[in-house]
């Protein structure tokens, strides 16, 4: 039920604690964290550009779609933008449900949709220059696993 787009880092532990604070009905809590992965030591950092007017709207739409498909008790999407160093956290999603199947499926769905439908673009800087990251064929295939949104 929460979407945050920010330059600041986030604390997974605090976010998950907040998600379940005061509740006793959650049985399963899944989190995914995306990190800046280094290409064998050559990466200096990445820049994440986004389309502010569309980002929050796209993420909210993806989250609403997930909540329509699975009985989620809580959900969270945080995505950073700006300059990030290798090893830094880029984004996280979290899902809470009574049983693990819904929490896992919804987290994967959020990631698959977010990868291909949320307006973020990564540029990597290495010693030899800057390059915009290409979309992965695997991400299009991952998206195609899910029936189209209603």
């Amino acid at each position: 039920m929460a979407i945050r787009v920010q330059t600041a880092d986030f604390d997974i532990g605090s976010e998950l604690a907040a998600l379940r604070a005061g509740r006793r009905d959650i049985g399963a809590l899944v989190s995914f964290t995306g990190l800046v992965r280094d290409l064998g030591g050559a990466l200096r950092g990445i820049e994440l550009e986004h389309y502010p007017a569309m980002t929050a709207r796209a993420l909210a739409g993806i989250e609403a779609e997930a909540r329509g498909r699975w009985p989620l008790q809580a959900s969270l999407v945080i995505h950073r933008f700006g300059q990030l160093a290798p090893g830094e956290q880029i984004m996280m999603v979290a899902t809470a449900a009574e049983h693990r199947a819904a929490a896992f499926a919804a987290a994967e769905f959020l990631m698959d949709y977010l990868k291909s439908r949320a307006p973020f673009w990564k540029k990597e800087t290495t010693a030899t220059g800057e390059v915009w990251v290409d979309a992965r064929a695997a991400d299009a295939a991952a998206l195609a696993r899910w029936a189209p949104p209603s």
């Binding site: 995306g34 994440l48 550009e49 986004h50 389309y51 007017a53 569309m54 709207r57 796209a58 995505h79 880029i90 984004m91 990631m111 977010l114 990868k115 291909s116 439908r117 949320a118 307006p119 973020f120 673009w121 990564k122 540029k123 915009w132 990251v133 290409d134 979309a135």
Partner: protein
């Protein structure tokens, strides 16, 4: 009509602008792309391979055939790579 046209990632870099106001009578996104491409070479280069370009009309993902009647904002960008 006047449209706010936005460019992101390498489209922004090739065209050299993050956004501009465009006075146009383009009926569809494809018409707008043709009009811009005819303007200057940097647009023609940025739009040379439309299979590598995605478009949003008023912040919703759309395709080249989408009509522009009533639209206020059109954005062009490469496939997304967040997450």
């Amino acid at each position: 009509m006047t449209l706010d046209v936005l460019y992101f990632a390498w489209l922004r870099e090739r065209i050299g602008l993050p956004s501009e106001a465009v006075e146009t009578e383009a009926a569809t996104v494809a018409d707008l792309v043709a009009e811009l491409s005819a303007r200057e070479e940097r647009y023609a280069l940025a739009f040379a391979d439309m299979a590598a370009v995605r478009v949003a009309v008023d912040q919703e993902l759309r395709d080249l055939a989408t009509p522009l009647a009533g639209a206020r904002e059109v954005a062009f960008f490469p496939p997304m790579t967040g997450g």
